[in-house]
């Protein structure tokens, strides 16, 4: 049976682990403006990234956006996922495909749409001024809010589909039994559905949180140059100053924080929701 995992394992080892090992080695090199890097075994890049208040702020912003987007996504996705899971209409397959529809559009194209909506000359501002709610353009684009809205738009389908798959597995009789015993709808949700849907909430949250932590195109396009998250900061080091060692160390710090937060967060979330 082990042979079944060979193709996928080989692919991961070749295309993911090997380049990562290479990057890990690069992160320990010394940066040189002319030759790009000098072979070394130094922790200077990691120490600089950890000690620099700027990168601490960038990491805090990234964490804040990722946690915020995950919470908003859970809140928005749960009702939609419940409705989808309990749907018995012949249109269920069509609705499921529609849920996935936003994933068919690339992040850059989707962001371009948000720019057209949220820009100073965009549709939202035009509408606000058109109905007399504002007499000047309101800054909607290049704000943290625009980034959160943009990222939630990207990750929402992942959460809806993950949750609906788990909710479908919850027997409807369990809800009916609780209702028959006098539980109000909110109590049914709180005491029956939510605990049973915990694996879905945790899995969906982990998936969404990881995607948010690594978001690149949306923060760059909707957050503007002043809004800094980790993935664009990593890219900056590689592309603008060719500082591969520092860029690689930032990437590994992002990876480590994402793994740590995922493990700790999912464990806390699982315990709380089951309690």
């Amino acid at each position: 049976m082990a042979i079944f995992i060979l193709p996928a394992g080989l692919l991961v080892c070749t295309l993911l682990i090997a380049p990562m090992l290479m990057m890990a080695r690069i992160s320990l090199n010394h940066y040189d403006a002319m030759s790009l890097m000098v072979e070394a075994l130094t922790a200077e890049n990691y120490l600089r990234a950890v000690a620099d208040p700027y990168y601490q702020r960038v990491l805090a912003t990234t964490l804040g956006v990722a946690v915020g987007c995950t919470l908003v996504t859970v809140l928005l996705a749960f009702p939609a996922a419940y409705w989808l899971a309990r749907m018995e209409s012949k249109w269920k397959s069509a609705v499921t495909i529609l849920t996935m529809f936003p994933l068919l559009v690339g992040n850059v194209v989707r962001s371009a749409g948000w720019i057209a909506l949220l820009g100073n000359e965009g549709l939202v501002n035009a509408a606000l001024q058109g109905v007399g709610l504002s007499d000047h353009s309101i800054q909607l684009l290049y704000t943290p809010g625009a980034v959160i809205v943009g990222i939630v738009g990207v990750v929402l389908p992942y959460m809806v589909l993950t949750l609906s798959a788990v909710i479908e597995g919850i027997p409807r009789q369990a809800e009916e039994a609780a209702a028959n015993l006098g539980a109000r709808p909110l109590t049914v949700f709180r005491r029956v559905i939510l605990p049973l849907a915990t694996p879905g909430v945790v899995a969906g949250s982990v998936l969404v949180f990881i995607l948010c932590m690594n978001a690149y195109a949306t923060p760059v396009l909707l957050g503007g140059p002043q809004f800094q998250m980790m993935a664009p900061a990593v890219y900056d080091q590689f592309s603008r100053v060719s500082n591969w060692p520092f860029g690689a160390s930032l990437a590994f710090i992002l990876l480590a924080v994402t793994i740590l937060m995922t493990v700790v967060g999912s464990s806390i979330l699982g315990r709380k929701l089951r309690a």
Binding site: A33, M34, S35, Y54, N120, Q226, S239, V241, S242
Partner: protein, 342 residues
């Protein structure tokens, strides 16, 4: 019926991968590392097809951004054979490749058209293909009196109306350095002037395209960008003019070079020579607004007036200290990101 064993099949498959090379063994091929878009199209049209093809030389474009191209050039420089025969890069990137001894020297003997190159653009290991300068570009309707000095960029009457490209942080820092009393080898005074810009609500725009959009919507009236860009945007209907300030402007030169480990140096040098032909040079000026680097490619007077620089303006161009820029660019980006934008 032909019977083939599994081993035979694998052998034949491996051999077939060599076929393309064998089939074209008599066709001289060469690889040019270049930008895509208008630049790549113009190269294909005016050099690859118009000059190289009649010579029987087939040109393959290796299209990428400048950073991967520079990295590839530097990373491959220790290899016996490189992947590019000709590399197109901006002057700053070419300087780094020259310093790493990655480029073949160029002389008039091997690139005859080099004799026509404007003296102030000549280099030892690369050939200037086209040039322009980062100047003050302004909306002619909103700024009826053209700025004269770079100090005008700090005039409070333009509060909130000056936009800077995030991508051009080095150029913007250079302008701030000169305004603060620094030089091309001393960007220290730039910090104070950058912070003054910040207090004047200068807008930092994510990309060159965002600068164009902001100029179009009149969200900004003034920026610092290549005069060639200003020309292209003017062609698209935005009322723009450019000015080389009294203190000068930051020249931007796009260069080509032949890596030392190029597989096909002979054709590569022919290619570099062809890029300096007047027909190719004029086409880049007409389409992209970049000025010819050779003296025998006069432009149509109307175009010349819009994209070219007078001798007095050329004399005011700053001479970038690439060594200083390379050694300080990481620190400049840090200040730009942390203090100016932060």
């Amino acid at each position: 019926m032909i019977e083939m064993t599994r081993r035979g099949l694998i052998g034949a498959a491996a051999a077939s991968t060599l076929l393309p090379r064998l089939a074209f063994a008599d066709d001289p091929q060469m690889v040019v590392g270049t930008w895509g878009g208008d630049y790549g199209d113009l190269l294909r049209e005016t050099v690859d097809n118009a000059i190289m093809k009649p010579m029987g030389i087939q040109v393959l474009q290796d299209i990428s951004g400048p950073v991967p191209r520079r990295t590839k050039l530097l990373a491959e420089c220790q290899n016996r054979r490189g992947s590019m025969d000709v590399a197109c890069l901006a002057d700053f990137d070419m300087y780094a490749a020259t310093r790493q001894n990655a480029l073949e020297p160029v002389t008039e003997k091997i690139v005859p058209r080099l004799s026509k190159v404007l003296p102030f653009l000549k280099k030892t290991h690369s050939v200037p293909q086209i040039y322009s300068a980062h100047t003050i570009v302004y909306n002619t309707e909103r700024v009826p009196t053209p700025p004269k000095s770079i100090h005008d960029l700090w005039d409070p009457k333009y509060r909130g109306k000056i936009g800077l490209s995030d991508f051009l942080f080095t150029t913007n820092t250079a302008f701030a350095a000169i305004a603060g009393g620094g030089s091309m080898s001393d960007f220290g005074p730039a910090k104070k002037k950058l912070m003054e810009w910040r207090s004047l609500d200068v807008k930092v725009l994510a990309s060159t395209e965002a600068v164009a959009a902001a100029l179009k919507s009149e969200d900004i009236w003034i920026t610092i960008i290549a005069a060639a860009r200003g020309y292209m945007w003017k062609q698209s209907g935005i009322p723009l003019g450019h000015v080389v300030a009294d203190e000068g402007a930051f020249p931007t030169v796009y260069e080509v070079a032949v890596p030392k480990n190029a597989r096909n140096k002979e054709n590569a040098l022919k290619y570099v020579n062809a890029m300096l032909e007047p027909s190719a040079q004029k086409a880049f000026a007409a389409k992209m607004g970049y000025v010819p680097t050779v003296s025998d490619a006069p432009l149509d007077p109307a175009l010349d007036k819009q994209v070219n620089f007078t001798e007095a303006e050329q004399a005011r161009f700053w001479t970038p200290d690439f060594g200083y820029l390379a050694n300080n660019q990481a620190e400049m980006l840090d200040f730009w990101n942390k203090d100016f934008k932060g």
